[in-house]
Amino acid sequence: MDPVLPYLVCLVLALTIYAAIRPASLSFQVGAIVATVAAAGWLIGIVASILSSLDGDAATPFFIIFSLTLLGAAVRMISHERPIYCALHFVLVVIASAGLLLLLEAEFMAFAIIIVYAGAIIVTYMFVLMLANQSADPNIPDPRTFYDKIPREPAAAVGVGFLLLCIVTGTVLHGTTQLPVQPQETIVWQTLEQLPKQFKRSVLELDDTFAWPPEVNEQGVAIQIENESAFVVSSDGVRLELNQTLLPTNTQAVGWSLINDFPVSLELAGVILLMAMLGAAVLARRAIELGEREKRAALLANEEASS
């Protein structure tokens, strides 16, 4: 294991990010972003090759495409001088990270992220950007404001980022090898057993002569694993093989985990959203100053409306 090379690549990555966020010509910036993406890919490759001595798998082509798109769009986002384009590059970041989540078999979260981020949050940002950037004046040739052109302390920020990136890299290199051994397939099948009605329905669909309930083994588990195939044993001793299509879908499993493991957090999330809605309404409300005459007219109109 060579511990110096990843940190050197972190340094290269930090320098290319520094080149990308400094004010420069467009071609220079694009070149710096390409260099940043290349350095990021180099870092990922080095770390994966150091760790792949433990197991033989490597990144898929889709992983490379999505992750490099993600990082390139992110760097372009923090270096672009016009806020609208920053928001649009963030949409690209969201779509690429949804691709990464699809590779991780988190289908529900991938589409939820696209809907909530690209569909709701970014639209809100775009509205506020368009409200705030009153640059429709055709007499001004350059609509960019001075504070978007000049970055603040790029060297110090990149230094902080470099240190943090070194810490992350070091943790990934020395931390993941000490994680406990990966769990067996039983955990996958437990997600089916946690949904008793679906478990019963899918078993009876496979074989409607099955004598419910199934036998449980000494750990209290009905679904048993033998030679990488799962089976249940009925109460009169008939053995039934289960196939993988019976497993709950990603959405079912996430919903089960959300309701079963985090009920209080779910309620708290609802309270947070309600408070944010009320707070935003109070903050963004425009106070209207009424004179005496308008106040009296408004009162009269109110009384007429109520009577």
Binding site: I44, I78, I121, Y125, V160, L164, V172, L258
Partner: protein
Amino acid sequence: MLASFGAATLASYLIVSGILLVIGIIGFLVRRNLIVMFLCTELMFQAAAIAFVAVGRYYLDYSGQVMVIFILTVAAAEAALALALVVFMHRQRDSLDPDVYGELAE
């Protein structure tokens, strides 16, 4: 479906997430536009979401994906409140430069 998923693959996802987090922090420190600074915090939220899902996938545990739901909640609440504040402040001074609002700290 749900094939084995090794330490090298997990490490690649974690490194991507770490680089994304660092880019978000650099953007937050460097940019001088309040709205873009808040966009950079969303970038950091994305990094956290990828890390959560990758580690959850490694342990075949769905809690990581549930955490992403809470991240989405917090991000939506933060966007609503922060943008309301930005609109409010922009109405007072007609600028998005945080240096203009320096006296708020005093």
